[in-house]
């Protein structure tokens, strides 16, 4: 551990924390929440409803509510993938890379996170309807961790492929 260069890590963490706090403050503002986050969450709920209908479930979607015969789920902040995207955006922006690399990383990784999150929401609704006893466990521990780990994995892969290698070569 003694030989590990600590300063770049501390600089990265400081930038990451500042970016995370900044983006959190932005999405926590009521106008942003009401005009961006809630409509975005409604799109996710509709897309999850579409997927669930595709596997034969009788689904009704009303705003952010997804209703099945025995289970209703309200997709809220924390389940819309925005938290994983905030983490990803803060990490990519804090990392020393070119703007082009950052934009490529943000676009591809954010899209991938949303696809994975769509699968999470659909899976949780399905579990709530058919296996209610394990819904809470999957909701809190499993899916949250998977989505966040996916975001971190994408960041690490991006930092290897698009940022760390070119930076190392340029030194």
């Amino acid at each position: 551990m003694a030989r590990t260069p600590l300063k770049p890590r501390i600089v990265f963490i400081a930038k990451f924390v500042i970016a995370l706090l900044g983006f959190y403050a932005l999405v926590a503002l009521n106008p942003v929440n009401d005009h961006v986050i809630v409509p975005f969450t409604e799109v996710i709920a509709r897309a999850a409803g579409f997927l669930l209908r595709g596997i034969g479930e009788n689904v009704e979607v009303d705003g952010t509510l997804i209703r099945l015969s025995r289970f209703t789920m309200d997709v809220k902040n924390g389940c819309n993938g925005v938290e994983a995207m905030l983490l990803l955006v803060a990490a990519i922006l804090a990392f020393p890379a070119s703007l082009r690399s950052q934009l490529i990383g943000l676009t591809i990784a954010s899209a991938a996170i949303q696809v994975l999150n769509l699968f999470r929401v659909s899976c949780l609704v399905w579990l709530g309807q058919h296996h209610r006893e394990i819904f809470d466990f999957f909701h809190v521990a499993v899916w949250q961790s998977i989505v966040i780990l996916a975001a971190i994995s994408m960041f690490v892969l991006w930092s290897w492929k698009f940022a760390e290698k070119p930076l190392a070569q340029s030194r």
């Binding site: 551990m1 890590r9 963490i13 990451f16 706090l21 938290e83 809190v140 961790s145 760390e164």
Partner: protein
Amino acid sequence: MLKNLWPSLVKGATGFLIGLAFWWAFSVPYARLLVALSEPVIRIAERPPVTRLIPDGTEMTIDRTDFPRASPRPGLRLMDLTFNILLLTTLFAVNPQPLSTRNISGFLLASLALVLVHVAAVVANVQSIYALRLGPWSERHYGAVARNFWGAAAHFYTVVGVFGAAFALWWLFRPSLALSSKRPSQRRSK
């Protein structure tokens, strides 16, 4: 490329399962530890110190000696604050040479720092309950700035801080990639 990802996926899944087993098995004693560490921190800012945190399985009850005896006591689910240990064990498991001394000592340091993060999360959540959820009592004892601050602090931790803390600690304490990827012969020659 996908072929190269398999070892990392297997290591990650193993780390996740170990973290899950550890988190599940030790959640009750860890709740007692968190309560024991958090209560004095909360009481530092109180004149007189009145808060009592009572562990109850994986949850805790928040009591104050100045609360009316008959009023219900608010509670806090500690596992909602501590599940980021799963993230930390998974990330350290994926590191190259996960069982090396440097990786394990990094993991232990990160875990120790995570305990401090959990104490801060408990303090923020208790203060948020005091500031926002106790009706007229909250309004009497907390001003607008304090209510917003504690509410935002608890919400920030729940939404992104819980994950951000594990990621930041992994990033800070993980063994250097450049050092880990060197062959043993290269390391010996140094």
